[in-house]
């Protein structure tokens, strides 16, 4: 998947590019709005990730001009929340999503997948790792073709883990993705939820796909090739 990333802060750009590459994205990067705009016009990207506060054309202008040129490429805005009504304006201008700084790269990846799926069609609805398959539209999970009943939170958590098999996700990252930014961080809600998911999967496949990483969090086991 090709991604255009426009961000003027070099240090942020570094880890975001590295993180996206680790997830298998091809990242095209530039540090100002003017260049970002011309590249977005010249090339076909799957997603554009735009920081609002960039030199040259700011993120909102780039977005506005792209839409005016009839480009419907999905756009995710990066904002420092409270940049007045930037977000509102961004959504009105046709941004597909926004993500507030500071953010986890894992979260950005999840958002990229979500907007691509929304604009891309059905082939993105299914996510299969190992014996587990998950339908994002019907929200049905199967293990070895056997349906598993999951609650809303359980489904979101499993989806988040399955999206990055082999990567460690901290409790905080999971909490933020599934429960939201302001959920009380000092609860064991993630662990309780994981246990419930395991209880539902274990009778069908006892291979322990969700691994606990002591003192850190969880990861979905990478299936053997």
């Amino acid at each position: 998947m090709n991604i255009l990333f426009v961000e003027d802060e070099a240090k942020i750009a570094n880890f975001v590019r590295a993180g996206l590459k680790e997830h298998g994205f091809v990242v095209d990067y530039c540090d100002n709005g003017n260049e970002g705009y011309s590249r977005a016009l010249d090339n076909q990207y799957d997603v554009v990730v735009l920081d609002i506060m960039v030199p040259g054309k700011d993120g909102l202008s780039v977005l506005k001009h792209l839409r005016r040129q009839g480009r419907n490429v999905p756009v995710i805005l990066l904002t420092a929340r409270n940049e007045l009504d930037d977000r509102l304006e961004g959504l009105n201008l046709g941004a597909d999503d926004y993500i507030a700084k500071p953010f986890f790269v894992e979260e950005l990846v999840a958002r990229i997948h979500a907007v691509v799926r929304r604009s891309g069609g059905e082939r993105q609805n299914f996510l299969s790792v190992g014996p587990l398959t998950l339908d994002r539209i019907t929200r049905v999970v199967t293990c070895h073709q056997q349906a598993i009943e999951l609650t809303s939170r359980e489904f979101n958590l499993l989806e988040y883990l399955m999206r990055s098999p082999g990567r460690v996700l901290t409790r905080t990252q999971i909490l933020e993705h599934v429960w939201g930014y302001d959920f009380n961080p000092n609860t064991n809600v993630v662990d309780v939820c994981i246990q419930r998911i395991r209880k539902k999967i274990d009778p069908i496949d006892s291979a322990c796909w969700i691994e606990s990483i002591r003192g850190v969090g969880y990861r979905f086991r990478q299936p053997d090739p």
């Binding site: 880890f15 007045l84 500071p102 930014y181 000092n186 990483i213 850190v216």
Partner: protein, 498 residues
């Protein structure tokens, strides 16, 4: 304007009335006394006249005639009682007359006063017409004009003005009742008694009206100032339409508004700048930690430490975010990103969290389907999560939580009730204060920085709703969140949503 006693208007009216009242009463008293004195003096002058005449009358018969006509001569009306006493030089009564026979005291008084008048040196009475065409010059010094004496006496029946005079051969005393004079003076006094309160009422009313019109510009000013809220700091009061005396006040007030506006703008710009400045390093920190954590050895001590650091960074950014939200809310600039929200769905998800977080609690829910509001998803989620997490935190062991969510034609109500120890009365009022966390001993184990309810209420109000602590029976706490049903929130500018 309220009319209580501390009112400036009332004070002005009272003060003017008091001043005018004392002036009028003083003036009335003095003029009344002056009039009385003048009347008495005139009476005295006439009495002297009478005394002279009587002393020159030759005999009893003449006195009788005189006595009958004297009231007229005295210029009083015929009904005015008079008394007359004539003695010879030896004190023998030559003639006595009293038109008020009931009053016997007057005769005694007349004698008494005649006796107290000093006797002139004796000399033989000249024949009536002192017709000596050439009076000898030597004789003149020996004639001392007798000095009349006047006094006012009260008897049981009336008041008398008594004039007495001693001639060498005859002593005369006349008493005239002051009844008529007193009646006139009473009439004058009554006129004052009616006029002065009337005047005072006029003065009070006038002062009330004048002070009212003097205060009118102040009232207009108050009206304008009331319009100036945090969000209207750019307003200025026009000074052209006001009286010259108030122009300075308005100018000073406008200057104050200007300073306020400047500092508010600075403060909110600072917030926005701070948001950006703080968030960039936080983003870098968080991103690098996340990346290093992925690269660390699985489950190693280093990875655990990185995970802890990541949590701290997240906590830091959460605090900064809340503080910024509050400061923006104060400046009336909480930015909302309103979308259509299905509150019912949100609530059902949160009920699931209660089951995850506190399975020991009994949960009762009554959530109407399709409760749709327009609001900022993140912020409203934060409010509800705050209420839920409080309901769990401050619950009793094996307690319960009740969720009730309904809508009326205009409003969505979400009430979250839970079993709890009673909140001390003093704490009820402070529960929405920033950084307030209830009894410190009770909540020491409970995490959070205490911004929750204060911020939650600000958010509810920014959505034109509210968050209230309900009155409940002992042993439970209930909060109610009210939000308007999908309105034109979208069309409003964000700055007007407070």
């Amino acid at each position: 304007m309220s009319m209580h006693l501390r009112s400036f208007r009332l004070r002005v009216a009272l003060l003017s009335t008091t001043l005018a009242g004392s002036a009028l009463i003083g003036f009335g008293t003095v003029s009344w006394l002056q009039i009385y004195d003048a009347k008495i003096s005139r009476l005295d002058a006439e009495l002297v006249n009478e005394l002279m005449q009587i002393s020159h009358l030759p005999d009893r018969e003449q006195w009788q005639i005189y006595a009958n006509s004297s009231p007229n001569a005295l210029g009083t009306n015929t009904k005015t009682p008079t008394a007359l006493l004539v003695l010879d030089a030896n004190g023998t009564i030559l003639y006595q007359f009293n038109s008020l026979p009931k009053d016997l005291d007057v005769n005694r008084l007349l004698i008494q006063h005649l006796q107290s008048v000093p006797l002139p040196p004796a000399f033989t009475r000249e024949p009536p017409p002192p017709a000596d065409p050439n009076p000898s010059l030597e004789q003149l010094p020996t004639v001392h004009p007798p000095i009349p004496k006047f006094v006012t006496e009260h008897t049981a029946i009336t008041t008398w003005r008594i004039g007495a005079i001693n001639f060498p051969n005859v002593r005369v005393a006349i008493a005239v009742s002051l009844q008529a004079v007193n009646q006139e003076m009473t009439a004058i006094r009554n006129i004052f008694f009616i006029l002065i309160p009337g005047e005072l009422l006029l003065v009070a009313g006038g002062a009330w009206v004048v002070s009212g019109s003097a205060l009118r510009p102040i009232r207009q000013l108050t009206g304008v100032i009331q319009q100036v809220t945090v969000k209207g700091l750019d307003q200025r009061i026009p000074s052209r339409t006001t009286d010259i005396e108030f122009v300075e006040l308005i100018q000073v007030f406008n200057q104050m508004l200007e300073r306020l506006e400047r500092s508010f703008t600075q403060a909110s710009r600072f917030s926005a700048d701070a948001a950006h400045e703080l968030k960039t390093p936080l983003t870098i920190l968080q991103g690098e930690l996340e990346r290093t954590l992925q690269q660390a050895e699985l489950g190693s001590e280093a990875q655990q430490r990185l995970s802890n650091l990541l949590d701290e960074v997240r906590r830091l950014s959460s605090i900064i975010r809340k503080l910024l939200l509050l400061s923006l809310a104060d400046a009336g600039q909480m930015s909302l990103c309103p979308v259509d929200l299905d509150l019912s769905k949100l609530l059902v998800e949160m009920l699931e969290d209660v089951d995850l977080l506190a399975p020991q609690l009994t949960v009762q829910s009554n959530i109407a389907e399709e409760l749709r509001v327009q609001g900022d998803r993140d912020l409203l989620t934060q409010v509800l999560q705050n209420l839920f997490s409080n309901a769990i935190k401050y619950n009793l062991p094996d307690g319960w939580i009740k969720i009730h969510a309904q809508q009326t034609r205009t409003t969505v109500f979400v009430t979250i009730t839970n079993a709890s120890q009673d909140i001390p009365r003093g704490d009820r009022d402070r529960i929405f204060d920033r950084f307030h966390r209830g009894d410190p001993a009770r909540t020491r184990k409970v995490e959070g920085i205490g911004l929750g309810l204060s911020l939650a209420r600000e958010i509810a109000r920014a959505h034109r709703g509210n968050l209230t602590l309900d009155a409940t029976p002992s042993g439970q706490i209930a909060f109610t969140l009210t939000l308007p049903i999908r309105q034109q929130l979208m069309q409003d500018k964000f700055s007007e949503t407070l």
